[in-house]
Symmetry: D5
Subunit: 95 residues, 10 copies
């Protein structure tokens, strides 16, 4: 089941540089794991913004929420989820 | 070069049913050609709406506009384009 | 899997009264079937509007889209879907 | 009488971790009491957000306000209330 | 129980002048009845707009919806309802 | 002359609890005086929000601004004023 | 008493050219009368739009509404009124 | 050449009272100079807000920007500029 | 003096194809004249929309409005004008 | 390939004056380099705002993002990118 997820990251100024670095590293590790596991299907940066557009493939809404909540930057993220489904004009199964 | 394209289709009531059917068929043919040509990388329906989210891979902005303008439903589409780029946390090249 | 669905119905003036009556009757029949089948868990009217808030329980995004698309008033609906999940403070399983 | 309540929680950075933990525990206790009392009928988390959608059943607007104001996280909540009523297509009494 | 109701009236151009006149007369009669019955507590016009702000006092959400739906102009109204309650700084009981 | 005034209060976190308490007490005293003077005709709380809807009866725009500016919480208020006038369907003079 | 009034005119396509011409002439006559009477203090066109910004000086909200309602294009106007008052930094009395 | 300028002032809490007082005094002096010079044609307060609506008469866009940037409160202002022109229904030259 | 002008064209369905063709041809001729005259400095299409972004260089606001009003598609345009000025970081004079 | 970029700069109050000065100087140097390199084609200030509108000519979305991210004020910028293409009515090639 596919979900379109737009994430905007907004780190408040009181978070020191080292913490941001450390969380960023953990974030990339976590993202890599989820990509390898086939959960995080696509991940693109929006040009000019500290924001990205992703497509997740999960078993359920609860799994998607658990994944998002597990991201190190989650407390600083504004997340908007859109449920996707197969488009009648798509050639391949929706992936 | 990748672009995120959200398309909402809004067919006015004065367009008769046959025209909608015919344009819809042409739309799917055109979409199939563009998918086979590797231009229209992803195509998903948004649950509950006559709208879709697509990712296009094109050589230039002009090529993207030409493709969108060539779609049979284009006169009835509200199109919003977002330029994408490679995310530092993405494992594979941005596709 | 639960989804929050807000539906606003907007019937254009060119649809004659009989059609609206007929579709409304079919809509209620379809809604009754889906409620009996346990798919359409909750259905409330928003005070003062031709709009409702529903909660659907479905197996997948595709099933939800198929259900919504099958509603007789679907061509006149503005539908906004929000994915729900279990709240840690909820006593019973999320239903 | 049913009300749809969307709550977004936004805890400012100056609130220390222990306070958040303590308030969160109190919040869950209060929510459990209100669910057992039949006032807080439904409670769902919105996927990807520190936000929830609830349905309350109360005797009056004043009772609803008193309940919301009694929640430990209330000072950090953005609350939007929508009055619900029975939908003509709902099979059971609106609950 | 008090509700703040903002109503904007938007009569489509295909409704002929006589119908508008007739509905307007019925609307005023219905409004007068509801004011005499103590249900429609306040009714003000917004300067410069075909819109009004009202305060209703009703027993329940269902009663409010039934009242609004009974208004002759209802099919042409955009209605936004806000639940009110007693303000701690108000001298008299909330009326 | 009547004005509809929506006030949302937003007290920044750096204002200490004692100041808020003291200002709140002064605010209620000031509100009581203005209600007794017949200037502040109605005062309702919006359910679930630190916000209210009021109706003021004043001689002029300048008087209204002077009254609003005199409120102890004014520096923390977001105020939106809407000019009201007599509705042709209102039974009594607009009060 | 001064009011800032933004008016956007939106004439539907079913109104024939002659009617628009005739109403436009009446509108200018009415506007001229109100300017000579000192009620319509300022009248500016917004560059690039069929919209204007005006300042009216009236005795009351009811007078302002009566004036606006008397304009020949009123049925096609979207009117937004903002109450003005004297600015402490203005040299002359607010006109 | 006339411009409509809406200015909302938002002084952050870290600016101490003396600075605000001093800047406010300088702001009024600067505003008085510009009014005497015929540049700042109109200056009104919006009722209930720390905001104003002004009309400036300048030689060029660059002059307008230089004037606005020279205001002592400029760093705390949200400024929205709208270009005005002569309205065909205005009796006098646009002033 | 430079202005940024965003134009969205929305031709209603009742305008027949021949009229659109004819107006489109006139529009391009008029645009060519204004470009040759140095008034219409830049003209770009927004990808995916029947909209464009332009920069005009004119003597005054009135000249800009006269130019925009003279465009054959003007009755179907939604025009938003933003006044530009020289940026301190721009190498060449603002053109 | 051309992109329209609107940048609003919002420097938080905790950044000291010297840092802002230093970053501003670096920003202008970087902007000058990019203008000389033919990447930053146009740069205008929006009248009354700490914001600008630019047009960039780049080889790809990735190049545009790299340029924007390299700007010293980037962490304080709100950037909105719009893809441009050749307008059929433009006389010269789109520059």
């Amino acid at each position: 089941m596919l979900f379109h997820v737009r994430i905007e990251v907004n780190i408040p100024s009181h978070v020191d540089h080292e913490t941001v670095e450390r969380l960023g590293k953990l974030e990339h590790e976590r993202a890599a794991d989820l990509q390898r596991a086939g959960k995080w299907k696509h991940l693109w940066r929006i040009v000019g913004r500290f924001a990205n557009i992703s497509v997740f493939e999960v078993e359920s809404n609860d799994e998607l929420h658990a994944i998002l909540e597990s991201l190190p930057f989650y407390p600083y993220m504004n997340v908007v989820v859109v449920a996707l489904c197969r488009h009648p004009g798509a050639l391949s199964a929706a992936t």
